[in-house]
């Protein structure tokens, strides 16, 4: 079974600085998707960025980028120029590339605090 591990329960960053959130996963599959989701106090999960495992190039979305190391099964999220609105719980998630639906496996989450 696939597992996702986030070893940092809490992180903090100064506004305008850069922070990196860590994620490792375990799978025997060669094709899969990886995601970072943001959960603000409203509880609604918001997709931040996604990475297809077959792509060597790291995904980027504006201030958000990932460092995908397939051999090491590592998938970290870098937030540049942090803003107060980035404060939230961040979840790393994995999804098979199979045909059994879009079922996600989530990590335990990292609570990010942004200090003004």
């Amino acid at each position: 079974a696939q597992t996702v591990t986030q070893s940092q329960p809490e992180m903090s960053v100064q506004e305008a600085e850069t922070v990196t959130l860590s994620c490792t996963y375990d799978t025997s599959e060669s094709d899969y998707y990886l995601f970072w989701y943001k959960q603000p106090p409203s509880r609604q999960m918001i997709l931040v960025i996604r990475q297809e495992a077959y792509k060597q190039q790291n995904a980027t979305e504006n201030r958000f980028s990932v460092n995908f190391q397939k051999a090491a099964k590592s998938f970290s999220l870098k937030i540049s120029d942090s803003q107060l609105g980035d404060a939230a719980m961040y979840f790393c998630a994995y999804r098979d590339f199979g045909t059994s639906g879009s079922r996600l496996t989530f990590g335990e989450g990292t609570q990010l605090t942004v200090n003004p």
Partner: protein, 118 residues
């Protein structure tokens, strides 16, 4: 609707009572998921509906949990004889087709129901 709607937003119940949680997916979305988020933990998959196919119930923690989806739209998650360990946020999500081969497939989440069992 514009997004995934869940009701109630918060539910407080007594141990042993039954509860029903409702999810209204985005119109036209054929796939619907229920997840449970316990305090300080990540999301745990519960059940998955895809069109008219038999649901994937492999994540349901016990036979006290059940879910149905009527007319391929609204879904209800029922917890019978609630226990204190059932206290959690229950999140619903929907997607257009539910197929992982669709590279643009995206999950849309509701804001969840916070269930507290006293």
């Amino acid at each position: 609707g514009a997004g995934v709607s869940q009701s109630p937003s918060n539910k407080v119940t007594e141990k042993g009572k039954d509860v029903e949680l409702r999810c209204d997916p985005i119109s036209g979305h054929t796939a619907l998921y229920w997840y449970r988020q316990s305090l300080g933990q990540g999301l745990e998959f519960l059940i998955y509906f895809q069109g008219n196919s038999a649901p994937d119930k492999s994540g349901l923690p016990s036979d006290r949990f059940s879910a149905e989806r009527t007319g391929g739209s609204v879904s209800t998650l029922t917890i019978q004889r609630t226990q204190q360990e059932d206290s959690a946020v229950y999140l619903c999500a929907s997607s257009l087709r539910g197929q992982t081969l669709a590279t643009n497939e995206k999950l849309f989440f509701g804001s969840g129901t916070q269930l507290s069992v006293l």
